[in-house]
Symmetry: C2
Subunit: 384 residues, 2 copies
């Protein structure tokens, strides 16, 4: 199997953008091509990770439009939808395109344009991924999060404040990310007194609705040096699912897709959780960062909540988590988020993360679709 390198990466400003989806995709795509020092015409595969441009904007066919506008025609192109983990799934598809020998040079661009829709409208579009029977009973992703947080706090006798520590940490990291939607520090009191959304979770436990995009360029590792010295290698990557009907899970505080995809990714990389130096986790809700810390094998079950509180996952801790600010502060443009996670790992591994720089040569990204319905885990290794 051909080892796969990432030879260029980009992300756009995340936030409330006055551009439609195609412009966002083009912006990230052009930046990544520049970063990899290649021309669009050299690409033979172009993947677009996007959940719902048809529903958000009434526009489909965006993968072909992007190939056209960048100048990548006649490259193969395809849209990949795995809801909020489309970016992780896109990374996996791009990896397969190179590993299978089908492609010599692939670009993945992930993006979503959401903020022009009201919060109820956007929530409704996203909730269309939930089993209709559960949705009918009022279960949206935020309400699943509330139920799960309550069970977790009760099961493991966890102080409510521990979830606020996650938000505080990620907002602090986001302060140093010029692309982040929110660049403001928040303190624990602010989180704990913000409006209630889904008891016990409050507004500051949730990521925002965001516009933005991000892009990655992939090539066989054997030729990566012909393009750049600043490349990283995909050491392990895998995707897995959990039940679509969430109430059928044995324990909603364990995300089966995280457990299974990371197990496969560790196996492929021949690494253990202990080998990971830093990670970007899918903190769509604060509770999700805690669950992933456990389900990825970094902490025992019921112990992940201590990480942010005890400073283990801050930038100067043993295992920095979400140095980018995470979805919480950076924002969550669905199709872009998994791509932007890998962008952050790439920046860290090539030593270009600026004020956010941490040390280490193994980074992990965990991208979660739905309520853990679909998950991709990606493990990157620096080349230096």
């Amino acid at each position: 199997m051909e080892r796969v390198a990432i030879i260029g990466a980009s992300m756009t400003q995340f936030g409330d953008r006055d551009s439609w989806i195609l412009e966002l995709l083009e912006e990230a795509g052009e930046k990544a091509l520049d970063d990899a020092n290649i021309d669009a015409a050299e690409l033979d595969h172009l993947y677009v990770a996007n959940m719902a441009s048809g529903e958000f904007e009434g526009q489909t066919g965006i993968m072909n439009a992007l190939a056209h506008d960048l100048g990548a025609v006649p490259a193969f192109t395809q849209r990949i939808d795995q809801t909020s983990s489309s970016g992780g799934a896109g990374t996996y598809a791009a990896w397969q395109s190179i590993a299978s020998g089908a492609s010599d040079l692939t670009m993945l661009v992930g993006g979503e344009k959401m903020t022009h829709r009201s919060t109820p409208e956007a929530t409704d579009i996203i909730a269309s991924l939930i089993h209709p029977a559960e949705y009918k009973h009022g279960l949206t992703l935020p309400s699943f999060a509330g139920l799960t947080a309550r069970l977790y706090l009760e099961s493991y006798d966890v102080p409510r404040e521990a979830l606020a520590d996650v938000a505080v940490k990620n907002h602090k990291n986001g302060m140093d990310n010029s692309h982040a939607q929110f660049r403001k520090e928040v303190d624990k009191e602010t989180v704990l007194s913000s409006p209630m959304v889904a008891d016990p979770l409050r507004l500051y436990d949730f990521c925002p609705i965001t516009d933005g995009s991000a892009a990655l360029v992939f090539a066989p590792e054997s030729v990566a040096e012909e393009y750049t010295d600043d490349y990283v290698t995909i050491a392990g990557i895998a995707g897995a699912t959990d039940t679509h009907v969430v109430h059928e899970r044995e324990d909603i505080t364990t995300m089966g897709g995280v457990v299974e995809s990371s197990r496969q990714a560790y196996d492929m990389a021949d690494l253990e959780p202990d080998d990971v130096d830093f990670a970007e986790l899918h903190d769509m809700f604060t509770i999700l960062e805690v669950l992933q810390l456990e389900d990825l094998g970094f902490f025992e079950k019921g112990e992940g909540w201590r990480a942010a509180r005890d400073g283990i996952t801050t930038r100067d801790g043993e295992l920095p988590i979400n140095t980018s600010g995470g979805l919480k502060s950076k924002g969550h443009p669905l199709g872009a988020s998994g791509v932007a996670q890998v962008y952050e790992l790439y920046q860290q591994l090539i030593g270009e993360a600026g004020d956010r720089q941490v040390s280490g040569d193994i980074g992990l990204a965990c991208n979660v679709g739905g309520f853990g319905n679909c998950v991709t885990t990606t493990i990157l290794e620096g080349s230096q």
Copy 2:
């Protein structure tokens, strides 16, 4: 590169179905699992080819729902959208999953549920794939087809009746396909006197709006015999694009994506057009079958219209085309169509096509998205 086999296949009844998208996908998925004699729990990858369940039915997340309902969790799953060629793109993704070594057993299920929407509504959803500037001027896919047909007929001094011959042939083939939406013979006079849709094309030059699904099971060729004797091998497969803005093409009677994807697929298979024994082409409009006959290298430019008229592409001709009835008679449930093309080739190559059986051991499928925007060409080889 690991060679990839198809070890099972299915399609559902195409037509006006009283089932929602998930039921259609499940039906084809279960039939294909039965055909391959495997259990869903053995799958490690499950792809869903579907353009627009969110727009047609307000339901997304269908890939995870399908994995759940079939019993394939925790297999990786993903939705693939390449508009009307999603099925071909899905075949390519499934091939990559095996060829890269990521998967030992992959299923692809393609489907679309459309008939519950009015024709103008469905046309509008499909037209969302067109460049907004062209759509504003009234250009839908049928109108592109009309313009192209007119130019083709004039450029090559072709009698209008030649396009009717395509419809007559494909309806005749569909008579013997119990899964086809339309099982009625039509004569040339009926085609030529049917209501005008986009001059010079009339109602019977167009495929219908259809519900349905189809599925394929993939494994490494090296283990195919452990599952079944009835397997076929993917000899060549490739995808390519043409401009998104159709009016920027040098010549709209040539489909660049067909030319490029087939060139790559022939190269991979080490075959020439002459080696192909039969093919399933994307006859969304009669003119498209003619253009593909030329762009795939079967006929010189301006000569493809003679094929149906002269009986070359009928079932007893030298190069049978659309033995299934094609999109024209079988129907065109967007995400299913490319998968159902491969299903027909599979049936032919294993000798199970019944009254439609033709001879030969090399079959080709050409699946076209948009107005040739995205195209996948797949070449299958029989194992017997």
